[in-house]
Symmetry: C2
Subunit: 408 residues, 2 copies
């Protein structure tokens, strides 16, 4: 797809920790292009628990429909199979049938039920999944590391995205490693975001179900405009239980908060990596809204800024055209906003208050901040104590180029 | 701003009809650039009625606040004064004071009250209005025609937008002429749209108030994503009463429907002109959603398509990447959409039904339609009889260029 490497301060992880009980393998199935890793299989040892959150898009892809059904079936998951190059979305009954054929082949290989396999796809929508190519690439025997796994799920990503962390729980070490893909996050409601985080800490399924939602809400859902609304977005949390750490069977368990903080840290770093690698991105923007009455209203204001094409082109141009920020705040979904009470900051520079530009604001100060490649927009609503943070990137020629050329 | 002329099939009107009772004059005040018509004054003879609809943005500009107050004051309007080059938005109390100083000067010139003047501004947000330059350009004595008036309110528009029409009411001729400006309509909730339509047909104020809303709902509000949400959007309907046509004092009056149809035709043509001149536009897209249970749900689906950057870049590339259309439909605000029941057409080509691609769909048919510069996307929901139409354009490199360079 000819993307130049434009990711904003995104570094390739050098050390990724294996997670006991997780086995990775990759293949080149030639789904869309030859000589490209495009299939990843994640096998899990017995005794694991798995939970997920999925797109709310009503044209949700065939693999998403199947994942939900298989997780609901209550059987233990044995493997995840992920392909790039084709989203298997907008493909109706035939798409479900093709995704199930991949699950069936992998289940046969692993000698398990079809419901124990979770399928994932990302790529072009509305085209039939070339399941035969994936079947021909199975069984996938060669063991791979997490970095190779992260590479195998890339589409327009310029770099693989992976993070590892370790945490002590009751004196024992638990390991967390996660990978993600996604780069269309300039308008994230259209992009396919896949995230997979594994830990060897034992966690019961109900607790894992709670964790996956809580973690997503402050990470992957903060780079998304209105929830997970692409056809294929999926975020999966896996616990193999192979570590000697105590079983976390309740959110009241002392280890819960510690593990949650570590998982959240990994998820936020992966989510931010998606933004840093945003299609055409040249800047990484943090939008923080404080002093609201609820997290929801803070998010509404933050999203209005984060998705405004005029704001984003101004960031691209390093142009402190800050009226565009006020305009976006003004049309956010927060219906009773009092514009005279809010304050707007660019990093440490107070730009606007009392309904207009701050008297001491100088264009050169705004210009200085706008030239940076990492910028924080801070809005103080001055009406409560809630806050929310959303991450986004700027909007460049390259974005149009990437998306105009995507299928060619 | 260096825009190349890219408007899609937009022709400059050659014959524009004067409206009795309306007097136009333009000036070069040098607000943002020298040697450019940037002030328009529309004077109305006594006996007129005026009504308007305005942006819902809570950072609404100072002139919008004043327009609303002056229209609510119930006095007869004597003149409208419109400047480009500065939006006088996000300017707080000082902005209101500067807008009022312009009204005061014009009121003194016309020997009327300040409340009888309506001010309008469009341009950069968050910068103080150079009211002194406008005051220096007043009084504006040179009479201008409608085409010159349309030119005087242009910002990034490549062509003036004006339409005339005549209609027989009870055997007498009424004339309608309207002008509009706006070109940022790729994401119209951020753009400033100004529209002014005058007729010499006599209409009472209550009826005019109803008309302005009904006309806006099927014209200017159909190129807008979520209502009139920029800081400055305004649409004004003026009746001078100078024609010999019957006074329309009720929506039951036989002439009401005829005049409304003519006004709506003018408004739709102006609204479409804004889209045709959309920043960076190379294609004019009509999105028609039929078979819904309500107009609101049809509009929700149409807007989801019309604002999707991925859909719009695909149109720019003439790429029938139609999965992006299904994806946009899937994340529209219509919560109980049954994707298996809807049909998706590109002009006459049936693309998708039964939740996936139509078996007889051929890429070459989609490609043929996508290459056109005027394309209709039609979605049939098959669950009711309501319908809605929205107009939009594609999304090109040029859009980013225009908006990155806007202030330079």
């Amino acid at each position: 797809m000819g993307r130049s490497n434009m990711a904003v301060n995104l570094v390739v992880p050098d050390t990724l920790l294996p997670v006991r009980g997780v086995h990775l393998s990759v293949a080149e199935a030639g789904i869309k292009k030859a000589d490209r890793k495009d299939v990843l299989v994640i096998r899990l040892d017995k005794g694991n628990t798995v939970a997920g959150v999925f797109t709310q898009n009503r044209f949700c892809a065939a693999p998403v429909q199947i994942c939900k059904a298989h997780l609901d079936a209550g059987v233990q998951i044995r493997a995840l199979v992920i392909n790039t190059g084709n989203a298997n979305a907008g493909t109706g009954e035939d798409g479900r049938s093709r995704a199930l054929s991949v699950c069936r082949a992998l289940a046969a290989e692993l000698d398990c039920q079809i419901e124990q396999i979770l399928p994932f796809s990302t790529g072009v929508i509305l085209e039939p999944l070339p399941a035969d190519k994936i079947l021909a690439a199975l069984p996938v025997r060669r063991e791979a590391g997490w970095k190779e796994a992260a590479e195998a799920i890339m589409t327009t990503d310029t770099l693989p995205k992976a993070v590892s962390r370790q945490v002590l729980l009751d004196g024992e070490t638990a390991t967390i490693t996660g990978i993600a893909k996604g780069a269309g996050m300039i308008h994230p409601n259209m992009a396919t975001m896949l995230g997979f985080i594994a830990t060897d800490a034992p966690i019961t399924r109900p607790v894992l179900n709670q964790l996956v939602r809580e973690v997503a809400d402050v990470s992957f859902n903060c780079i998304s405009v209105d929830g997970d609304t692409s056809t294929n977005d999926s975020f999966i949390l896996m616990s193999t239980g192979a570590a000697a750490t105590p079983l976390i069977d309740s959110s009241e368990h002392p280890a819960y908060a510690i593990l949650k903080a570590a998982l959240t840290g990994v998820a936020i770093e992966l989510a931010q990596a998606i933004v840093r690698d945003g299609e055409g991105a040249t800047k990484f923007i943090t939008v923080k809204v404080e002093g609201g009455r609820s997290v929801a209203e803070c998010k509404a204001v933050a999203y209005a800024i984060a998705r405004s094409p005029l704001v984003k082109t101004a960031f691209f141009a390093s142009d402190p055209n800050l009226g565009r920020l006020l305009c976006a705040i003004g049309y956010s979904e927060m219906s009773d906003l009092d514009v005279d009470r809010l304050e707007l900051y660019l990093d440490d520079v107070l730009v606007a208050c009392d309904g207009g530009r701050h008297p001491a604001y100088r264009e050169e100060d705004g210009q200085r901040v706008m030239r940076q490649d990492e910028i924080t927009v801070r809005v103080v609503l001055n009406r409560g104590v809630a806050e929310a943070t959303v991450w986004t990137c700027d909007f460049s020629y390259e974005y149009v180029k990437i998306n105009a050329d995507y299928r060619s």
